[in-house]
């Protein structure tokens, strides 16, 4: 019916179970590395490194365990578009947070330490004048 090739279904690129074992081992190795590097205090590089390792592990799972490697083109497109929209959501929101007026960001004082008193008494304005000086 649809323009879908039948041959793709049968020969299904014979591969032994070995591939799964290799991928499994790789995932375990990556887990250990990320735990070890997570402990070392690399300062600013900690977050990006952990994210890179997690992305590599994720792509391994997606490509080989979930067979996206030999799947139809449209399945890959669907997963790719979902990832793109996740990035767009993060970019859009962080585009706002990083450039918002400093006073408009949450201060994070836990509720019970926010001292009462309604209006700032007349001892002056927030620490520095935004855009002012």
């Amino acid at each position: 019916m649809a323009d879908h090739k039948d041959k793709h279904e049968d020969e299904a690129h014979e591969h032994g179970p070995g591939r799964y074992v290799v991928i499994w081992m790789a995932l375990l190795v990556f887990t250990i590395t990320t735990v070890v590097t997570g402990h070392m205090d690399l300062g600013a590089a900690n977050l990006p490194l952990a994210m890179v390792i997690a992305t590599v592990k994720a792509t391994l799972v997606v490509l080989f365990f979930m067979h996206l490697w030999d799947a139809e083109g449209i399945n890959r497109l669907v997963f790719g578009v979902a990832i793109v929209f996740v990035m767009v959501l993060l970019l859009g929101v962080f585009g706002d947070l990083l450039t918002r007026m400093p006073e408009a960001l949450p201060t994070g004082q836990p509720a019970h330490t926010l001292e009462g008193g309604d209006m700032p008494s007349s001892h002056g304005m927030p620490a520095h004048r935004p855009h002012g000086e």
Partner: protein, 552 residues
């Protein structure tokens, strides 16, 4: 009304034949309907439920309009008014606009237009209908037990701190999200796998393209509103502080999460309407679509770029001006796609053979309202005027121009255009024209005063307003009664047509759409034998006659 225009349709050579054994009476009994897997029956059941929710939403709207006739409290209290406009928003958006055209005409016409026997997953399709019923039932219990008073946007600090229990309404919206995901998922797989041989991507009817683009949004945006309702529900019950500023949360984050779904959601509503109108403009101008590729790709364009533009709802909500600029540029791109479509629709009329019928009147109304509504949308997206217009009646008028003007006009046009195919009977053309006139006039009288009220500075969701807005509000209320009267008229003559209408025959409009190449009402398996699809839909020429090919 002059002599009924129906006679303009040529006397059919053979008498119109009514398909005796069709999907409606193939198997009898309520159980056969409740357990059906036939996409046509599911479409008809969606049709019935969607009309009821539209009626309910309309009642809430009329209560709000009558309350606003005087600046002082008119006949309901402040809290009741707040509940009325919230429930008007919730019922109309989640229970009517989003499931309407995809649920009713997507279910009914998509397989017919693809030459398929059914959608890809019939059981999922029925499940989507049940989940829609369950979600609507939950929202209605919410309505009965006090409803919600936080506006349909249920912004964080208010919705999570108001004593009013929002729980049933939020749970209902969460459940309705699943119905939307299932329908979208079903249609995407159907378009990919069940096209009849001969229907390539570039020979699919434009309604299918619009439904395909809508389904992409339904599948990929709805989970985020599911999560937002879940988080607001947990925040309200458990006090987790996710959005609570006192505990370090950020209410603007809730607005980001909400509008990440709700802006694409407005394209879930308008894209199917554009799809219906592409079919109707081709059918009633009896001409091939002008710029088929342009309209098809701009549907996809709206679906994708629509995901990036949600920030234009938050220009004055504490969002940074840099981000506001970014969202404004992208909103302009989405506007361009709509502009392309409008030019191509009008282009389709060029050198056509226009047949004046009720759907065509709705098309004219649609064209005017989508131009006017769309341009005010672009005006709102230019940030500095939005500072004045945000959360005023200008915004209310803008989105009603698109939702009522474009989407409900298209919904009515679709009902009239596919009524003969769904039920095998024709409606009375004269009455239909009168009703269409009422609708178009009533709509203008209702919402143009609201544009002016918005310019004058009247904020949204106001129970009592300063005296200077009284005149505009009274005018708007009078207009809304006209509009309501128009809807009632349509209901009456359609029911009359259903019971005692003339037999329509297989193709009363002589349209070259693929869905008309089966009996009406269609048989259970849609097509008796597999058909050939040699040319694009809507190519109006007699067989053997070589058409004049014009490139402008």
């Amino acid at each position: 009304m002059s002599q009924p225009v129906a006679s303009a349709i040529p006397a059919p050579t053979a008498a119109p034949v009514y398909q005796e054994i069709n999907y409606l009476n193939a198997d009898r009994g309520v159980a056969s309907w409740l357990k059906t897997l036939d996409h046509k029956r599911i479409g008809v059941m969606y049709f019935a439920s969607v009309l009821m929710t539209f009626l309910l939403g309309g009642i809430f709207a009329m209560i709000v309009r009558f309350e606003l006739t005087t600046p002082e409290p008119t006949f309901i209290g402040a809290n009741t008014y707040n509940r009325m406009f919230t429930l008007h928003g919730m019922v109309m958006v989640f229970l009517f606009m989003i499931p309407a055209i995809p649920g009713v005409f997507g279910n009914f016409c998509l397989p017919l237009m693809l030459g398929a026997k059914d959608v890809a997953f019939p059981r999922l399709n029925l499940m989507s209908l049940y989940v829609y019923w369950i979600g609507s039932a939950i929202v209605l219990t919410g309505v009965i037990t006090g409803g919600a008073d936080s506006g349909w946007t249920f912004y964080a600090p208010y919705s999570t701190s108001t004593p009013m229990t929002l729980f049933p309404v939020l749970l209902g919206v969460f459940v309705l999200g699943f119905s939307s995901i299932l329908t979208g998922l079903n249609f995407i797989v159907t378009v990919h796998t069940l096209r009849a041989p001969g229907i390539t991507w570039m020979k699919m009817p434009l309604f299918v393209w619009a439904i395909y683009a809508t389904s992409i949004i339904q599948v990929l945006a709805t989970p985020v509103i599911g999560l937002t309702t879940l988080l607001v529900g947990i925040e309200k019950v458990g006090g987790f502080g996710f959005f609570d500023p006192g505990r370090g949360g950020d209410p603007v984050l809730m607005q980001h999460l909400f509008w990440f779904y709700s802006h694409p959601a407005v394209y879930i509503m308008v894209l199917p309407a554009m799809g219906v109108m592409s079919e109707i403009v081709a059918a009633f101008a009896r001409k091939n679509i002008f710029g088929y590729k342009m309209i098809a790709y701009s549907s996809l364009g709206i679906a994708f770029v629509g995901f990036f533009a949600w920030g234009h709802h938050m220009f004055v909500s504490g969002q940074s001006s840099f981000d506001g600029g970014g969202f404004a540029v992208i909103s302009m791109l989405v506007g361009v796609f709509t502009a392309i479509k409008v030019f191509n629709w009008v282009g389709t009329l060029y050198r056509g053979a226009i047949l004046v019928t009720a759907p065509f009147i709705y098309l004219c109304g649609f064209l005017f309202f989508i131009v006017f509504g769309g341009m005010t949308g672009i005006a709102l997206a230019t940030i500095s005027p939005d500072v004045h217009w945000h959360d005023t009646y200008f915004v209310v008028a803008h989105f009603h121009f698109i939702m009522v003007g474009a989407v409900i006009m298209a919904f009515l046009a679709a009902i009239h255009y596919w009524f003969p195919k769904m039920f095998g009977k024709t409606y009375n053309e004269g009455w239909a024209m009168v009703a269409a006139a009422f609708i178009v006039l009533g709509f203008n009288a209702t919402f143009i005063p609201q544009f002016l009220a918005g310019n004058a500075g009247m904020p949204r969701r106001y129970y009592m307003y300063p005296e200077r807005f009284t005149g505009l509000n009274v005018a708007s209320t009078m207009g809304s009664t006209l509009l309501a009267f128009g809807f009632v008229m349509i209901l009456i003559y359609l029911i009359f047509a259903l019971l005692r209408g003339r037999i329509a025959g297989e193709n009363p409009w002589h349209s070259k759409g693929y869905e008309w190449r089966t009996s009406s009402p269609p048989i259970k398996e849609n097509f008796a034998e597999t058909l050939e699809y040699p040319e694009e839909p809507h190519t109006y020429r007699e067989p053997g006659e070589e058409p004049e090919h014009v490139i402008i």
